[in-house]
Subunit: 141 residues, 2 copies
DNA sequence: CTACAAGTTCAAGTTAACTTGAAGTCAAGC
DNA sequence: GCTTGACTTCAAGTTAACTTGAACTTGTAG
């Protein structure tokens, strides 16, 4: 069993973040008699998965939903993990495609001078105009 | 001269956001005798530029820095605009490259079962471990 | 036994990019 | 003249993903 500092050092994730993940139900821990957290080594792989998924652009909520599909009664196998990431490739491909569209718009649209809201659909695609709710907006979100 | 509602409707950006951009010095307006904002039509192109730059991933602060390089004494020309976006192509290419690395890691790394913090550099590249400051972290930021 | 590091909880702060609400002013139609 | 909609400012709220601080307890080395 690992202490929170062990896990933090090995994963590069701050202890405060680990407690936060636990509060959100993304990882679990047992307690020593003292009340201190003790982690199973398998938590490291779970954390690696979380970090990876974040880089792909998933929110913690989405990641939690994925993790909930892992078997609860045993340590997940290689197959269990690889099945989770099924839909991700498509998601990444979509983002790459968007970036490539933006990249060609950079020369074709700004360069040619047509960057005007009335005529340029790169400057104002539907999903930019159709924003919803409060809080910051991210171009990939 | 356009009212704030005119500009909002034509750009798809909420009036509150337009006031916010002005507060940040990204756009400018004059005032009617009543105190109401009046915009020059050229502000639409400026807003289009802001929206485009945001989709590429620039923060408002960075966008402000770019906009500050436009000539202040006249309405910017086609050339003025296209010179601003010089460094962006490279930036987009870097992001595409990162996504492609992540995509191959998806099959090679999660699929093969090597996704462990100790051994997998996709799970824990330097820039994930080396995070700094408070606030949310984004995988592209 | 005494330091001092490491752990705990809980509330509040941080960042970006806005939105929402309150409280009041201005403009246009009937 | 009245109502209704558009506009103004300013303060406070929103979201995500954490961090920071306060106040306190545990574990360990000397």
């Amino acid at each position: 069993m690992l202490t929170i500092t062990d896990v933090s050092r090995r994963s590069g994730i701050a202890s405060s973040a680990l407690r936060f993940y636990e509060e959100r139900g993304l990882i679990a821990s047992e307690r020593a008699g003292s009340g201190h957290r003790r982690y199973h080594r398998s938590v490291l792989r779970r954390i690696a998965f979380i970090a990876f998924a974040q880089r792909i652009g998933l929110t913690l909520e989405e990641i939690g939903a994925e993790l909930a599909r892992l078997p609860a009664d045993r340590v997940p196998s290689r197959r269990d993990w690889s099945q989770l990431s099924g839909a991700w490739a498509e998601r990444i491909d979509e983002r790459i495609a968007e970036l490539q569209r933006l990249r060609s718009g950079l020369t074709e649209c700004i360069g040619c001078g047509c960057l005007s809201i009335d005529r340029c659909n790169l400057a104002n695609p539907a999903d930019v105009a159709g924003r919803k709710g409060p809080g910051p907006r991210y171009w990939l979100g």
